[in-house]
């Protein structure tokens, strides 16, 4: 008895969780101190490659905090929007185990429908409602024509089917709305324009009003969806379907209904994404590309986690902007297009299941 009490009381000085959490920052701090010493000691000379990569960017960050803040803000906005796209993938993947290749084109299709209807003279908010209706019809059609006949087929077949869906939507969109880029009806939807300059740290940070609106709307949307899927009957049914088809069927959950719900939710997410990205550039088929930015986000966050999609989106968004601004010039700029994938690749080396990917609990 006395022995076991002694063992129980022999706790480590600092709780193990704390040491674990502090490990990475401590290592980074150690490296930073080492670098400072090396620079001070003249081992790393100003202007050589190691200095440019490992020291110079951080010096710049400290010297011009306003620039850092600007970059972080832009990264934050981009991150929230990436999270939104990733959310569309996560919803469908969770419920049906399908990686929906068509999510990108759904973004374009939804935005085109909205703008196209408005061009035909439909008032902006009615057009918005109709676009939501079109996404619902699309969800029903996908369930009837694509998912239902292919039920119980291997995942790869369903994946290929979403390729088919992609090309179908490209064709349909082009034939109805034409292939020319369109301008998003920002003003008609009362999305703010213009910018505010904030004076901070003796410098200036420019904040686009549209970015603020985008961040707020995306955040609300993500929060509502997260609560919906965590605490309501339909949300529970959705998670149930994701876990076990036969058990879900046995308690009377209809797979077909759940599939319509998730595809519709993904469609609405696509519409919001389309409006936000469309307002920042044009509404054109090139927008489809941004869906691929969701891939590194999904790799980071795991394919099945909503919080994962959010945090993954933020890491990619911020990481990408910081990389572009501080390290981009070393490579001649333009690293934004591929830097996200590098971040994801590095993450994969350490956590193959992503940050929040479902732990696979399996009994043998």
């Amino acid at each position: 008895m006395a022995d076991s009490a002694a063992v129980a009381s022999r706790k480590p000085l600092i709780d193990r969780r704390v040491t674990k959490a502090l490990r990475v920052p401590l290592i980074l701090a150690g490296i930073a101190i080492l670098l400072v010493l090396l620079v001070q000691g003249g081992v790393i000379a100003r202007g050589n490659l190691v200095y440019n990569v490992l020291v110079d960017p951080f010096v710049l960050m400290v010297e011009a905090p306003d620039l850092l803040l600007q970059t972080l803000w832009e990264g934050l906005v981009a991150g929230v929007l990436y999270a939104l796209i990733a959310l569309g993938f996560v919803l469908i993947y969770k419920a049906s185990g399908v990686f929906n290749f068509a999510q990108g084109i759904m973004v374009v299709f939804a935005a085109l429908t909205l703008v196209g209807l408005h061009e035909k003279g439909v008032p902006a908010f009615l057009a918005l409602g109709l676009a939501i209706g079109v996404m619902f019809l699309l969800a029903v059609a996908v369930e009837r024509v694509v998912l239902r006949p292919l039920v119980n087929q291997p995942d790869i077949i369903l994946f290929m089917a979403t390729f088919g869906l992609t090309y179908f939507l490209v064709g349909l969109g082009e034939s109805i709305f034409g292939g020319n880029p369109k301008v998003m009806i920002t003003d008609q939807l009362f999305l703010p324009r213009g910018a505010t300059d904030l004076e901070v740290f003796g410098g200036r940070v420019t904040i686009q009003h549209l970015d603020v609106a985008a961040a707020v709307i995306a955040t609300i949307m993500i929060a509502v969806l997260a609560v919906f899927f965590q605490y309501t009957r339909i949300g529970r049914a959705l998670r149930a379907v994701a876990d076990s088809h036969k058990a879900a069927l046995s308690v009377g959950i209809s797979l077909n209904q759940i599939w319509v719900v998730v595809w519709f939710a993904a469609g609405v997410v696509a519409l919001v994404t389309g409006i936000m990205w469309g307002a920042r550039s044009d509404v054109s088929f090139a927008l489809e590309i941004i869906a691929f930015k969701a891939l590194p986000v999904l790799i980071l966050g795991g394919f099945t986690s909503i919080p994962g999609a959010i945090i993954g989106g933020l890491i990619i968004g911020i990481g990408e902007k910081l990389g572009e601004f501080y390290w981009g010039p070393l490579l001649g700029g333009g690293i934004e297009t591929w830097f996200a994938y590098v971040i994801a690749l590095i993450f994969l080396l350490f956590r193959p299941q992503g940050l929040f990917g479902e732990k696979i609990i399996e009994r043998v």
């Binding site: 009957r233 529970r236 149930a240 058990a247 308690v251 009377g252 959950i253 479902e358």
Partner: protein, 266 residues
């Protein structure tokens, strides 16, 4: 409240009748020409050696499979090709041989999922989780808490079921089926892989469900002691055919049953 679309059955009436059911997968016959009935309020056991077609039978009853021949009458009505969700709506709940739970969800959420059919509020209120949706959530939560108390699993309410030991998982699965307030409860080997104590607990729960709620139960079980103690009537399958049907003590003495289990000298 609309009137029930089926006659209200008294104890002892035929709740479910299986008539000349056959089931084939390509050339393999899983069931051939099986007939038996399940009466309201009884505990009906389906036994037989491995591969006898017991689980296939349950799958037919709950709509996972459709019989290639014959028909199944439930509450006096013949069902043609019925989907599992329709069976669930009709009041048939089940558990599975190798537990099928929603592993990532908590015990509470698993059992709440069993209430899916009892919850009706539309997408709109669900989306905001207010008004009618919230009231409904609370009402159903009360029922579920009752089931959790009944099954004595209060201590694992918030634990993801994937982390629970097997015996408790089986109990949660029973809870999820009970949450549907079923007319007919199908249990596929509820005691497989359990130790003696767990088996005794499960037997007690099955008897309590039958007596307190008057739920009709059909169960598949290999433990002969359990079957003989629990069930009112037993049907015995072998190679997809029915070889005996009757009270436990009759079945136990039946020469064909003894041969099926022990093998015959050729």
């Amino acid at each position: 409240m609309r009137a029930p679309d089926h006659p209200i059955l008294a104890k002892g009436d035929v709740l479910l009748a299986v008539e000349n059911v056959s089931l084939g997968f390509g050339g393999v016959k899983a069931l051939s020409d099986v007939s038996f009935d399940i009466r309201k309020g009884e505990i009906r056991a389906i036994i037989g050696p491995n591969g006898a077609g017991k689980t296939s039978m349950l799958n037919c009853i709950n709509g996972f499979y459709h019989p290639t021949d014959g028909r199944i009458m439930f509450q006096g009505k013949t069902r043609l090709k019925m989907r599992p969700s329709e069976a669930a709506r009709g009041g048939i709940a089940r558990t599975f041989q190798n537990v099928a739970l929603f592993k990532g969800m908590s015990t509470l959420d698993n059992i709440m999922a069993g209430r899916s059919l009892k919850m009706k509020t539309g997408f709109f209120w669900q989306l905001f989780r207010h008004g009618p949706a919230m009231r409904e959530e609370v009402e159903n939560r009360k029922v579920v808490e009752g089931i959790i108390d009944f099954l004595e699993i209060q201590h694992i309410r918030k634990v993801p079921v994937g982390k629970l030991p097997y015996g408790l998982q089986k109990r949660v699965e029973l809870g999820r089926a009970l949450a549907m307030e079923p007319q007919l409860l199908l249990l596929d080997e509820p005691m497989a892989g359990m130790n003696l104590e767990e088996k005794e607990d499960m037997s007690r729960f099955i008897l309590d469900v039958n007596q307190q709620f008057g739920t009709t139960i059909a169960l598949i079980e290999h433990d002969m002691g359990v079957v003989m103690d629990l069930s009112d009537r037993v049907v015995v399958l072998e190679y997809g055919r029915k070889i005996a049907d009757g009270k436990p003590e009759e079945v136990k003495r039946d020469q064909r049953v003894i041969d099926a289990y022990l093998g015959v000298a050729h």
